[in-house]
Symmetry: C2
Amino acid sequence: MSDQVLETGQPPEGDAPEAYLLNKRDVAAILYAVDIDDREKLIELMEPLHAADIADLLEQINAFDRSRLVRLFDREFDGEILSELDDSIRDEVISILTPQVLHEAVRELDSDDVVDIIEDLEGPQQETILDALEDSDRAAVEQALTYPEYSAGRLMQREVVMAPEHWTVGAAIDHLRATPEDELPDQFYHIIIVDPRLHPVGNVTLGKLMRSRRETMLSDLLEETFQVIPAMRDEGDVAYAFNQYHLISAPVVDEDGRLIGVITIDDAMAVLDDEHEEDILRLAGVGEGSLSDRVRETTKQRLPWLAVNLVTAIAASLVIAQFEVALAQIVALAVLMPIVASMGGNAGTQSLTVAVRALATKDLTGSNVWRVIRRECLVGLINGAIFAVVMGIVGVIWFGSPALGGVIAVAMVVNMVVAGLAGTGIPILLERIGVDPALASGAFVTTVTDVVGFFAFLGLAAAVLL
Amino acid sequence: MSDQVLETGQPPEGDAPEAYLLNKRDVAAILYAVDIDDREKLIELMEPLHAADIADLLEQINAFDRSRLVRLFDREFDGEILSELDDSIRDEVISILTPQVLHEAVRELDSDDVVDIIEDLEGPQQETILDALEDSDRAAVEQALTYPEYSAGRLMQREVVMAPEHWTVGAAIDHLRATPEDELPDQFYHIIIVDPRLHPVGNVTLGKLMRSRRETMLSDLLEETFQVIPAMRDEGDVAYAFNQYHLISAPVVDEDGRLIGVITIDDAMAVLDDEHEEDILRLAGVGEGSLSDRVRETTKQRLPWLAVNLVTAIAASLVIAQFEVALAQIVALAVLMPIVASMGGNAGTQSLTVAVRALATKDLTGSNVWRVIRRECLVGLINGAIFAVVMGIVGVIWFGSPALGGVIAVAMVVNMVVAGLAGTGIPILLERIGVDPALASGAFVTTVTDVVGFFAFLGLAAAVLL
């Protein structure tokens, strides 16, 4: 990364797609240093890189180079890099690090970062890392691990900056200045104001604190927007709240409403990014999976979805098989039938994606669900009618049969209305019964559009043309 | 929204999907107040809602209710709501507001929010809003509009807090306290340190400033991670940098590297969210589009993608038509052929989605492109072989023909390897020639898998079985 270039304020290279991309030449130079076992050169080349970029680099090279690089880099390997690494190669890297390097790397990190690393590891590796921590940190990490995965309790950091509501600005500033560095979070932007029972009642920004007179009451400086997050809340909802209410940090409370930690927007942003990744991959039937997974894992991850698709494809074939007589007599039906199914599948996927996305952003609710379903069916009807005319004409020209053209036209309209209905209705139903609509809707919707498409087209053809 | 409930720190309702969802009963009560024209009741019900939730509410009700609600709410309608509204209904709402309400709403906002509102409006509405601004604000907005859409220059706010590098902590604090409120940003968390030419050289957090001795030099307190953003940089890259480097705010510079504004993480998070939305919708062939669009716009948005799909479906049909002789003799071919195409299409979509996502997160680069392509083809080969065996057996049992089973098995393997190749290669090629891979890859990949699937299966069948 070109930290230096940016800091001297040079103009951008104009080449937008290149911005923030790891430089191919830098990567080559680093791998060359590894090849010739030149530790000094390696350290010199890696020094300007941000930990997140080093993690990306490690993800992009192959396992052999990765192992050599990590070994050569040795004591320079720090906790930040570990915390930026993708889960899929993190345990591989941890097993390469010497115990001493791992020890030091882990001790540098905030408790929430250690939790993030440890929760995906196997038992023995977890122990190694827990053993590396100081007692108080270890207790904090183990405490966090008692909250469910993907909860606010896991996401939060335990170091908080708080002040009682009856304090003045001067008292808060003096207290802040007197607190030892290691009891404060790495970065903080607000002071959380609490009542005597330790319930958060508001936020004061450091900017306001600094600009106010020493005798001002903290309770007079509270920010307007303030959200308290229960520790059991799902991290996806936490990310939603940060994005919706433009929060920078938010206090986390236990079941009794007592302040136990704080979540900052950078963590929420990372969650938002993960959730989107999950949605987009699930919609495509990829489940989890990352680019650094190996062939074996990738094959295993994708297999179930392909198996589901095979079942639905066979179901569609069974529908086709009901019309063998018609197909044997009119070969044109075999030629045209995939078009009807394909258009329905596409229209269904369009409706489906809009619905899944709207459910994720909480824009599709009880207040507008019927209006949205009606709209999608109407859109299907109109687009269906337009393509019905087109395909009707194509059918007549291609096969010289107005009846065949009529059949494909009607089947097209039917299938695209059904596509709008299924594409919206299925994700809504899945959400209602507590299944992630991104995960399962696709298979259902294309099954519906395939079955309805083949059935409408071949059934009509059998009735009209035979 | 249950701001009050949260503030008293009550435990969550446990019902995760309900968190942050607009309460159906609240919405009904609000619409009832509109129905009976009870302004006081409406204001009382809306008062606890955050502007972002009011915007969501307006998006979820129908146009008639929306218009009545906005009229009744009248002077209570503030700029925040306007800035949270989806583009698709913002101009509708603006045209409902009385000039005076609009005037006041707009004057409350920061310059970056006004820019965000104004850039999507038509000429006359733009003028109305510009006219409402004070001269200095108007100049700031017009200046921002000279930067291209989706650039950092549009995203930034112009109110910055900066200090020369030779200042001490004490000087910075005194200066901050002496600056009038309206010259400072609404919220700020860092002081940007500049050199004499106004080039940013680093960030100091307010926390560090507050905890340091008055005589400490600002230049001794600089944060480790610091990124300067050129005004012409694409906002997607800006969001990437915030997420990658955990930035909270970053200075924006002009072509000469001089500080001209600042971008904060909440704006970057909103961009990240938009970019994801765009990717997910484009992958599904929905283009833009939101839930509050009307039937007519939605139909128009989806039509082009369906048209592209029709062309590719017809291309696949033309392939089928080449094998009419085989199809006429063996009806089983018509029954089985959609399975081969469908499995290829699915496998291709899996590879495609992983590739598009990896390109967006800059994880797929020159360093690993060949390894990724090889991996995807291998995964296709293995999964293809597994399903080839399954389908071979199904073919034999169903139609009693080992030769037919063999044909479908071989076609399946071929198509799934091609799916891995096309699913990875096509988005990479599109990215290289500067086309958004999310936008166009899907149609290409399914065309390839349809054509190859039908051709391999029917061609082999014609060669082996006839």
